[in-house]
Symmetry: C2
Subunit: 314 residues, 2 copies
């Protein structure tokens, strides 16, 4: 019998789940609320009920993408800013106890899952190595080298949003200054908009998550400040990508996340900057591609995590 | 019979050669002039004579470290700023024809060789993954992941000197602005010294390669400008290291090259900056170590290149 794998992506708002067959065919799909803001106990309960909705007796392994820092080996959730009460929480153990099942569970960081998803079935399909950048609230990433996720020595690699691109730049949530995330993210856009009094007035009262969309509408209507902000956004993204390309010499860069929706407003400046800052040989053949799986990337990546986790364990 | 490997490091001034046994024991060592500035034909001739001085009939493979961009597969030297007339030169083919021997020859970038050397027998010995930074005329690097050199998709990885740390910073030799090399290298020190009129006067007439040493002497004599320059050097090195650590989550960073001789003058600022800019988990257990093999790292690394090249081919 062919094996099946269940992947789950934990988002701030939703839980998404998918079962795929051995050869990657989608077999079932579901979505529910995560209630992640209500803390880890509630999340584990929701997850447990959610998993039971799937035909789990047929599933060989479960992969779960978590928005936080994890320890794969011990199944620990070390830190997750968007899930209350979660420092050093034995995630896998708690979930197995709750479910009362013996299906192996493997956890992975959610940005890494998104990278694995786009690599396996999205914009990175067919490439050998790939850098994934996720432009959302922050600036996340995942690095795939020769077909494998590079997790680093302690499992924390891919924090590309915290590359310094200006030591004296704006303060970042991480405590440092001038991380690329302070220029290229939803949080950054919110701050930058306020540096333009006219724009700031126009966007007063807009929810943070809706500001990029409104800013894109204004740019399409030829608002000069909005155009300038997107241009600078593209340029700074290009600076970040050039660093990664110079260090790693990887030819495929996939950019996803909500803000990648404004692709046409920033990508020309991004390419221009990458070409200026990458050594000639590095820029040769480089492709910067828009992710195209959307929210599906994370859940699909979680399915791959289940599959590769099982293969490693055998 | 146990195998032996010959490694050669091509420097701007010298050719260094070493034979090691299968288990890494040094068996023979020699040095001669490279005359690299006189062009590639002369270099190939010198190399050929140099190789013949060794007991080559007993050697299983030759590894050569080259100061330039190479294509390992084809044995091509793509570009080498310090060897005249060398664009797309069939290095391995030309050398084999000149020697008239059948010993397999493998080429590698010289900074990568230095990284392999320090990893195998120097400051990185015992680590799993390692970042090597070589502070000389420029800011070079090599990245070792899980015991293997990461060369990138086209073989050009490790250009860590061209990470942008200030998009509006000084012009770099690569054409971009604000690469870390424009702050942390011999070339950078020469420029920066001239921003201090008093120092500039004191060091007038000093050869570029001797400026860092003179600047270190002045710092030891409590010259405030000299101390400030080394402090900033350390801080900017820290910015560069933090980028690599955030992206790759590697716990061992080895810093070598001529300028690492002034270790005590900059390392405190480097550590301070890395701690400030690396995500908490990344900085945990991070070790920044001084390379200790000196010029021996490159030639030893070339021996390892010979060994691993042979193993890959078998």
């Amino acid at each position: 019998m062919k094996r099946k794998f269940l992947g789950i992506d934990i988002g701030g708002t939703n839980l998404r789940g998918k079962i795929i067959s051995e050869d990657g065919k989608p077999l079932a799909e579901r979505k529910t609320c995560s209630d992640a803001h209500m803390g880890i106990s509630r999340l584990i309960e929701n997850l447990s009920s959610f998993i039971k909705e799937f035909p789990c007796e047929e599933v060989s392994a479960i992969g779960i993408g978590i928005p936080g820092t994890i320890d794969r080996g011990d199944g620990m959730l070390i830190q997750a800013p968007n899930i209350a009460n979660t420092k050093n929480f034995p995630f896998t153990k708690a979930l197995i106890e709750k479910i009362g099942a013996t299906t192996p569970i493997f956890i992975e960081n959610d940005a890494a899952c998104a990278a694995l998803g786009e690599y396996g079935a999205g914009a990175g399909k067919g490439s050998n190595s790939m850098i994934m950048i996720t432009l959302g609230t922050g600036f996340g990433g995942g690095i795939i080298l020769d077909g494998k996720l590079w997790s680093g020595e302690d499992g924390f690699a891919g924090e590309v949003g915290h590359m310094t691109i200006n030591p004296l730049g704006p303060r970042c949530a991480c405590g440092a200054n001038g991380c690329v995330e302070t220029y290229v993210s939803q949080v950054a856009i919110k701050r930058i908009v306020c540096e333009y009094p006219e724009l700031c007035k126009k966007l007063a009262g807009t929810e943070e998550s809706s500001i990029p969309k409104r800013l894109a509408e204004l740019a399409h209507k030829r608002d000069e400040s909005a155009i300038e902000i997107w241009n600078n956004f593209g340029t700074n993204l290009g600076v970040g990508i050039s660093i990664l390309v110079n260090v790693l010499d990887i030819k495929t860069v996939v950019v996803g996340g909500g803000l990648s929706g404004s692709w046409q407003l920033f990508i020309d400046k991004t390419i221009e900057e990458v070409e200026k800052r990458s050594l000639g040989a590095h820029a040769r053949g480089l492709q910067i591609k828009k992710a195209f799986l959307g929210d599906d990337a994370g859940v699909l990546g979680a399915c791959y995590v289940a599959k590769s986790g099982l293969e490693k364990n055998c």
